[in-house]
Every structure is written in structure tokens, then in C-alpha cells.
Amino acid sequence: MNNVIECNNLTHYYGKKRVYENLNFHVSEGSILGLLGKNGTGKTTTINILNGFLQPRSGECLIFGENTQHLSPRTKARIGFLIEGHIQYSFMNIRQIEKFYSGFYPNWKPAPFWELMSKLNVTPTQKISTMSCGQRSQVALGLILAQDPDLLILDDFSMGLDPGYRRLFIDYLREYAKAENKTIFTTSHIIQDMERLIDDLLIIDFDGVLAQTSVNEFMGSFKRFDFVLENDKTDLKKASFVVNLDKVKNKVELYTYSSESIVKKYLDDNNITVSNFAQVKMGLEDAFIGLTGKY
């Protein structure tokens, strides 16, 4: 499958502060990928590099094979970009903004835009600046849909949206992307939202990429085991299969990609006595926290 986005050896610093070094990832055509990471791990930096608003210290990102520092107009026309906070020209009303953007895109499809707009309780002459956050998000989304791009880059699309609008946004987007074989690259700090939307995930941390895989694969292989240690001095961190460990006195939450049998075998082999051993079912958010830690 073709890679729509390909980032190679990205390294960036703000002054002396390292954001990341040699970050590599790619997004293949037709996939919906969520970029997850805690605050400060470089989500926005990545989005900015992808959109050509930031020159990385080294490395490069390619979109449709073009370096994002010098995207040609033709390629830019194929990318729909949702700025964090659904920023749009708020001094326009929806009629004006539709008219404005339609002049740039030869494949402009006004229908999805007006379809979305008809669901909002706004008048065509109402300025965007007077709309609610949720309404603005629909305007921004509608414009991207009308642009009909092959790749959608959504920066923190859930910011400021109430649950209803989040749901509306996600469902509309996913249905559209799947129906038209669009590729989506998105970030959000609300991971529950991502779960309904994305196929693949890319988890970055301060040290680089922690995981890049499909959501199903990740959720299938990443597990949490809870148990109670008899001796609360026991140190489990040395075990090679431990990805993360959360220990409060003798209560342990262990995160691993390994199977229950391997964990149990390790405990037996090392004469570690535990009680109440159980695998706990996780949502994506739990798994994310399990992988990256709470801090």
C-alpha cells in the first residue's frame, strides 16, 4: 500500500529543549491514523511540520512524495487541514466562506458543506465569530469535506466540543472517510473520541515512537494484569516483558505485550507469590495510560 505521509528521522528542538530525535513514521493510504502522546511530546510540532509551518532541525516529512517544506499548490489542494480550535475566517458568514474557498478548489463539492450547515441552527448571513464552538467545528469540517481532499489532517478536532458535537463530528468524518477512501491523520487529547474514529495509532513519548500499529492489533496484544504481591518489596521491573508497572504498596498493575502464561511462568520461576491474578479489560484510554504512564 502507498504511504501518503512519510516522516524520516525527524529531529526538532526548541532552543536547547529536545522535542524528539529521529522520529520515523508513515501513514498509508486509506487509513485513519491517530497520533497520541502526552502533552509536550511533539504532537503539535508534528502537525506543524506536516503543514509546512515549521522547519525541523533535521529530517523530513513527505506528503504524496513531496517535502512538506515546499508543498506544491497541487498537493496542497489534496490536503484538508483542520487547525486546532477549528480556526476559520470568523469575520465571514457561511455563505461568504463557501464562496471564498470554492474559488481555490476545482473539485469543490458544495453539497456536503450545505448538508452539514443545514443541520446547524445558523442563518447564512450569521458571522462565524458569533457561532458556538460546536457550530464552528461543523463549518470547518464542512469546508474540508467540500474541498474533497485525499488526506485530512485534523489537529485536536475535539477541542472545545461538547459530547454531542464530538460524536456528530466523528461519525460524519468516519463514514465519509470510509466511503471515499480518504486518509486521515489526526490528533486529539480525548482518547475516547479517537477510539471511535481511528484504525491505526501512533503513540509517541518523550523518547520517540512507542507504538505504531492498528488499533485492533494494539488492543489485542497490549494487556493489563492486576495482582497482589505477598512481599511488597518484590521488584518486577527487571522482567523483560514488563512495559509499564504501576505499584501501590503490594497492589500491582502490570502492562505487557506478553501472554498471561509467560507472566505466570516468570512469577513461578522467580518464586514470587501473588494472589488475585486477573487480566483486566481495557479501553484505548486505559491502554494509552498503561503504555505511557500517568506522568
Binding site: N51, G52, I83, G85, M92
Partner: protein, 222 residues
């Protein structure tokens, strides 16, 4: 494509441009009302005499009018682009970043030019009613740098507003502010005649200044 660019810029500046132009027209109307009044009460020969030999500059109230216009249009046009870094939307449009900026800039500058041409035309037309060509020419030599200052202010505000770093905005402001003073000396009528062509060239130099700060923005300076 350019129609859309023009459309957006027009939406931003229209009321400011129209309001400014109307105020300017009223101002110039008032200016010549005072001239007319001077003719009626002091007599034409005394008005002429004070202009020719006593340093009276009947056009001096116009001094900061173009400057205010340049500032107004620039702020109306570029301030909304920097709120929430909205200029990103422009850079994301399917055309070259510099091309997009220059189209916006050209539209703003041409709008300003049209407004100035209205003022200039009114000024020249009314002046020719009251004064012979020589006096009108000297007056135009004197007000010409003020109009250039209007354009320079427009270009400089774009540079400053689009600059992502406050520290550099301050630097540009200092340099730009001092630079504008060279248009605004208060000499005798006609004194700017040897300088006007040079000032014109310098103003033209500034016309692409915004590309510099916009480039810094695009490279992620913050």
C-alpha cells in the same frame, strides 16, 4: 483564484476603506472650504502671497491623513490574520505562499492607492481652481512624501503584524517608526523635490517586506 483572494481581503477592509475614504473626502472638502473662506475674507492676492512668500502651507492638515490610511488598512487586513495564527489558512491554500501573500498585499496597496488617488485628484482639482500650476506643483511635491509614508506604513505594519516573535516586532517597530520620519520632515514648500524619487524607490523596496516575517512564521519561529 485571485477573485477569491480579493473577495476575502475586501470583506476585511471594506468598511475601513470606505469609512477612511469618506472621512478623507470630507477632510479635503473642509481644507478647500478654508481656502475659499481665505479668498473671500483676505482676498486671493493675500492668500497667494502668504503661500508664496510667508511659508503658509494650506495643505498642512493633510500631513498625517495618508499615514492614518496606511495604518488603518494594514491593521484591518492583517490583524485578523494573526488572531489565532489564522494566516496558516492562507498558507494552506493551493497556491504558493508568497504568491498568496503578494496577492493580498497588492489588493490592499491598490485599495489604498485608489483611495489616495481620489484624495489626490480632489486636491489637484480644487487647487487648480484657486492656484496656478506652479503653486499646485509645489504643493504636490510637498504632499507626495506624505502619501508615500501612507504606503510605507501599510507595508511596515504588514511586516510587523506577521512577525511571529514579539522581540522582533519591537525591532521592526523601532526601525519602521524612525524610517517613517524621513517622509515627514516639515520643510518649506517644494523642498522634497530632490528626495521624492529616492523615497519612492525606498517605499517600493518595502512593498515585499512582509515576505520576510511571513517566511519566519512559516519556518516555525515563535
Amino acid at each position: 483564484m485571485w477573485k477569491s483572494v480579493v473577495y476575502k481581503e475586501w470583506l476585511k477592509i471594506r468598511w475601513f476603506l470606505i469609512g477612511y475614504t469618506l472621512l478623507g473626502i470630507l477632510g479635503i472638502g473642509y481644507l478647500f472650504l478654508t481656502v475659499k473662506h481665505g479668498f473671500a475674507f483676505s482676498g486671493g492676492k493675500n492668500v497667494w502671497n502668504s503661500i508664496l512668500f510667508m511659508g503658509y502651507q494650506f495643505f498642512s492638515p493633510l500631513k498625517y491623513v495618508p499615514l492614518v490610511g496606511g495604518l488603518t488598512i494594514a491593521i484591518a487586513q492583517y490583524f485578523p490574520e494573526t488572531v489565532n495564527k489564522r494566516i496558516k489558512l492562507t498558507f494552506h491554500l493551493p497556491l504558493g505562499e508568497n504568491k498568496a501573500l503578494l496577492m493580498m498585499h497588492a489588493f490592499g496597496a491598490i485599495s489604498l492607492l485608489l483611495s489616495f488617488l481620489v484624495f489626490f485628484g480632489m486636491f489637484a482639482g480644487f487647487s487648480l481652481l484657486y492656484f496656478p500650476v506652479q503653486m499646485v506643483t509645489d504643493s504636490i511635491i510637498s504632499i507626495f512624501p506624505w502619501f508615500l509614508a501612507g504606503f510605507a506604513a501599510y507595508f511596515l505594519v504588514a511586516l510587523i503584524v506577521l512577525e511571529p516573535e514579539w522581540k522582533f516586532r519591537f525591532y521592526y517597530f523601532v526601525v519602521g517608526g524612525f524610517f517613517l520620519t524621513i517622509y515627514l520632515n516639515s520643510p518649506v514648500t517644494g523642498a522634497y523635490s530632490p528626495a521624492n524619487s529616492g523615497l519612492f524607490v525606498l517605499t517600493a523596496f518595502l512593498s515585499i517586506a512582509l515576505l520576510f516575517s511571513a517566511y519566519r512564521f512559516r519556518k516555525g519561529e515563535m
